[in-house]
Amino acid sequence: MEEYRIGVYVCNCGTNIAKVVDCEAVAQFAAEQPGVVVAKSYKYMCSNPGQEMIITDIQEHALNRVVVAACSPRMHEPTFRKALETAGINPYFVEMANIREQCSWVHDDPRVATEKARALTLGAIRRVVRHQPLERRYVDMCPDVLVIGGGICGMTAALELADGGSRVYLVEREPTLGGNVARVDLTAPYLNSARDLVTALVTRVEEHPRIEVLVRSQVAALEGFVGNFKVTVETVWEGSASLSHFNVGNVVVATGYKEFDASRVTYYGYGKLPNVITSFDFEKMLKAGRIQTKEGKIPQYVAIIHCVGSRSKEFHGYCSRVCCMTALKYAHEVKSAIPNCYVSDLYIDMHAFGKGHEDFYRRGSEAKTLFLMYGKNDHPVIRKAGPNDDCEMLIEVNERL
C-alpha cells in the first residue's frame, strides 16, 4: 500500500473565509488526521507565495497528495493543479474543499461554520487518497456542425456558425426551408412581415459557401461521441431514396413544434362548427389577403380564444407563451381589415412579458377590442346559435372581470 503523504492548506482568502471560519482551528484539525504531514493556514493560497508554499512543501516533505480548503474549484482548481505540476507530481492529485462559497459566504454563525469547514476538509482528505494519476489527452474534434431543422431557429443557428467559420450541414425534412414561420403573415408585436424575415434568411443560407443544405432529408443514423459524430442522412426525391454520410463534431437540434390538435377540445367545436378556426388557418387567410367565413362572407363578430390546449388539466399544464401576443396581433389585423367588426378576446391572463408587449396590449384596447377573462379550468363553450338568434354561433363565458 502506498504511503500517503497529504498536505492540507486552509486559505483565509483575506477575510472572506477567515471572518467566519476559524482557519487555524481547521488546519489544526486537519493536522490530526492520519496521513496528513503538513497542515497550514495562510492568507491567500492562490497568490504566488501561496503557490510557492505548496511547491516547496511538496519537494521538501515529499507530499504525494494535496488538499486546498478555499474557494470553489471553479475558481482556482487549475491554479493548484499547475502548482502540483510545477512541483513535479501529477496535477490531479489535488482536491479542493469549498469552504468559501459553500461555507463562509453562506453562514453567519462562526461556530457552526467552522464545524462545517472541518467536515468539508475531512471529506476532501479522505477523497484525495483515491485520486488516480490522470493523463491529459488531446483528441481531434471535427469542427463541422449538423443542424437538424431548417426553420427560423435552424437557419439562424446555421448562419451564426457558418459566419463564425464552421462548416454546417443543414438538414430539412420538407422540400423548402422556413418551417412554421413561413406559414405566418406578420409578427407580433411590431407587425413586421414574417415572409421578409424568412426570405432574407433563406437567401443567405442558400448562398452561404459554408452551409450545405439538404432538403427532403431526415437524419437516419447518428453514431460516435461528442466531437466526433458520424451522420447518415436519407434524402427522398421523386420516389428514390439516397444516403449521404459525413462527420460532424456537434449537433444542433432545431426541429421546431407541431401545433396542438384543436379538435381535441370538444367544447370549442373545431372540426364541427365550420367557422371555428385555428391560428394557422387564419394565417392562411391573412396571407391570401382576405378574411372571410367559410361561406365567403365578411365576419361581423370575431372572437379570439387564448390558451387552447394549454394551461389546462385536461391537455397541457404549461402556458404556450405565444398565444397572447398572437391573439392581440389578430385583433389588430381584423380591426384594420374590417373596421366595424366587433372583436373580443377571451383570455385567462394577459401575458405581456416582453419588450413592446404591454404597449401592444394597450393599442389593442384602444382599437376597441373587448377583453373577457375566464378562469383557468372554467373554459368558455362555443355552440351553434339557435334559429331565433341573429348570429351563427354563441360563446358562453364565465366572465371574471
Binding site: 363578430y301 366587433y342 373580443s344 394577459m350 396590449y361 394597450r362 384596447s365 384602444e366 382599437a367 376597441k368 377590442t369 373587448l370 377583453f371 373577457l372 358562453e396 366572465e399 372581470l401
Partner: protein
C-alpha cells in the same frame, strides 16, 4: 343564466360623451380612489365593465352613476386614460334620456343642434306670445300697474301652470327611474314602510347635497350649493312673491334683499363654472358636452336679464325694462320647460331620488337572509 353581450352600446354612449372606455383593463385604481366606492356600489369600475360588455338592462337599472359626483380622482389615477369620470357623466346623461318616456330627451342629448333649435324655437314662440299679449293688454311704456305691459297676476298664473306641467313630466320620469332601479327588480321585496321611513332623505339631500360634501375637494360642493340655493331663493320669490318683486316704484327690502343675494350667487357661480369649463381647470371641467354648455349659458343669461330688467326699471327706463323682461321670459321659459324634464336640469330630482332609492334598497336587502344576499346586492338584470 347567461346574459348576451351587446358590443354596440359603447357607440351609443359615445354620443353622450363616453371616450376610450375600451382602454380600461380593470386594474381597479379608480374604485380604490373613489370616496364613494363601497359595497354594494363599486364605483366606477363596475359601470365601466357593464358598459364595455354592453349590458344595457343592467346599466339602466343601475344607481351607480348617480352616486358619483365627478371629483375626477378616478380619471386622474387611471393608468390607461380610460376616462372613468367622464364615462360616469355620460352614463348620467344616458340615464336621463332613458328615464324620459317621451323620447325628446334622447333627441336633445344626441344632437346639441337640435336642442339649441328647440330652445330658440321655444324662445321665439314665448317672445311672440308675450309681446302680442302685452300689446293687447297694456302699454310698453308702463312697467308697473296700471296699464302695465306684462300683468303680474297673469304671469303668476302662467308660472304656476308651467310648473304644473313640468312637475307632471318630471314625476313620470321619476316613476320610470323607480321602476328601473327598484320596481322591476324581482330579487328584492321592498316593504312600503321603508319608503316612509326613508322619506326624510329626499328633502335632506335636495337641500344640502351632503353626499357631494364627502368628496375630498369641498369647493365643488360649495359652489354647487350656493348655485342651487340662489336658484331656489329666486324660484320661491317668483312663485310666491312676484307681486312684491315687481310691485311698483316702492322697494320692499324684505323681498329685494333676497333677490340681490340670489342674483349674486347665480351670477358668481355660473361665471366660475363657465370659466372653469373654458380653461378646463378641474377634472370635471375637462370635458364639456353640448348640454353642459347650454345649461350654463341659459342660467347666466336668465340671471343677467333678470337683474338687468330690475335695474332698468329702477332707473326709470321702463320701455327698456319691459323689453328686457320679454327677453328674460324668452330665456327662462324654454330653460324651465325643456331643461327640467328633458335635459340636465332633471338631476335636481334624480340625485336626491338616487340617495332615497339606495337607502330603500339597502333596507330591503338587509331583510334578505345572509346567504342569498350576494345575488341581490345590486340591481340585477331582469329577463
Amino acid at each position: 343564466m347567461a346574459i348576451r353581450v351587446n358590443p354596440k352600446l359603447i357607440e351609443e354612449l359615445e354620443i353622450y360623451g363616453a371616450e376610450d372606455v375600451q382602454n380600461c383593463y380593470h386594474c381597479g385604481n379608480c374604485s380604490a380612489m373613489c370616496p364613494f366606492s363601497e359595497e354594494p356600489y363599486i364605483l366606477p369600475r363596475r359601470a365601466m365593465r357593464n358598459l364595455q360588455m354592453g349590458l344595457e338592462k343592467k346599466l339602466e337599472s343601475s344607481l351607480d352613476p348617480w352616486l358619483c359626483y365627478y371629483c375626477g380622482q378616478c380619471t386622474e389615477s387611471c393608468p390607461r386614460g380610460a376616462e372613468p369620470g367622464e364615462t360616469m357623466m355620460s352614463l348620467r346623461r344616458w340615464l336621463t334620456s332613458r328615464y324620459d318616456f317621451t323620447g325628446i330627451s334622447r333627441l336633445f342629448y344626441r344632437s346639441g343642434k337640435f336642442e339649441l333649435a328647440m330652445v330658440i324655437g321655444a324662445a321665439i314662440l314665448t317672445g311672440l306670445a308675450f309681446v302680442l299679449w302685452g300689446i293687447s293688454r297694456g302699454s310698453i311704456h308702463n312697467y308697473d300697474p296700471p296699464n302695465e305691459f306684462l300683468a303680474r297676476p297673469t304671469i303668476h298664473i302662467f308660472d304656476w301652470a308651467l310648473a304644473g306641467v313640468l312637475l307632471v313630466l318630471l314625476l313620470s320620469n321619476c316613476t320610470r327611474m323607480w321602476w328601473f332601479t327598484i320596481g322591476r327588480d324581482r330579487s328584492i321585496r321592498v316593504p312600503w314602510t321603508a319608503y316612509l321611513r326613508k322619506l326624510y332623505l329626499l328633502p335632506l339631500h335636495f337641500l344640502t347635497q351632503k353626499r357631494y360634501a364627502k368628496c375630498e375637494r369641498k369647493r365643488p360642493w360649495l359652489i354647487h350649493l350656493i348655485l342651487m340655493i340662489s336658484y331656489l331663493i329666486m324660484l320661491v320669490l317668483i312663485m310666491f312673491f312676484l307681486r312684491e318683486m315687481q310691485g311698483g316704484p316702492a322697494i320692499d327690502w324684505r323681498v329685494h334683499i333676497f333677490g340681490y343675494i340670489a342674483t349674486v350667487g347665480l351670477l358668481g357661480t355660473t361665471i366660475f363654472a363657465l370659466r372653469g369649463r373654458f380653461k378646463k381647470s378641474e377634472p370635471q371641467y375637462a370635458h364639456s358636452h353640448e348640454t353642459d354648455w347650454l345649461f350654463l349659458v341659459l342660467l347666466i343669461l336668465g340671471a343677467f336679464t333678470g337683474i338687468l330688467q330690475h335695474m332698468l326699471h329702477r332707473t326709470g327706463l321702463d320701455v327698456a325694462a319691459n323689453i328686457t323682461y320679454i327677453v328674460h321670459l324668452m330665456i327662462v321659459v324654454p330653460m324651465l320647460g325643456l331643461e327640467v324634464p328633458f335635459s340636465k336640469w332633471s338631476h335636481l330630482a334624480y340625485r336626491p331620488l338616487a340617495q332615497y332609492f339606495a337607502a330603500v334598497r339597502a333596507e330591503a336587502v338587509a331583510r334578505v337572509p345572509q346567504k342569498a344576499r350576494a345575488a341581490v346586492a345590486t340591481p340585477p338584470v331582469v329577463g
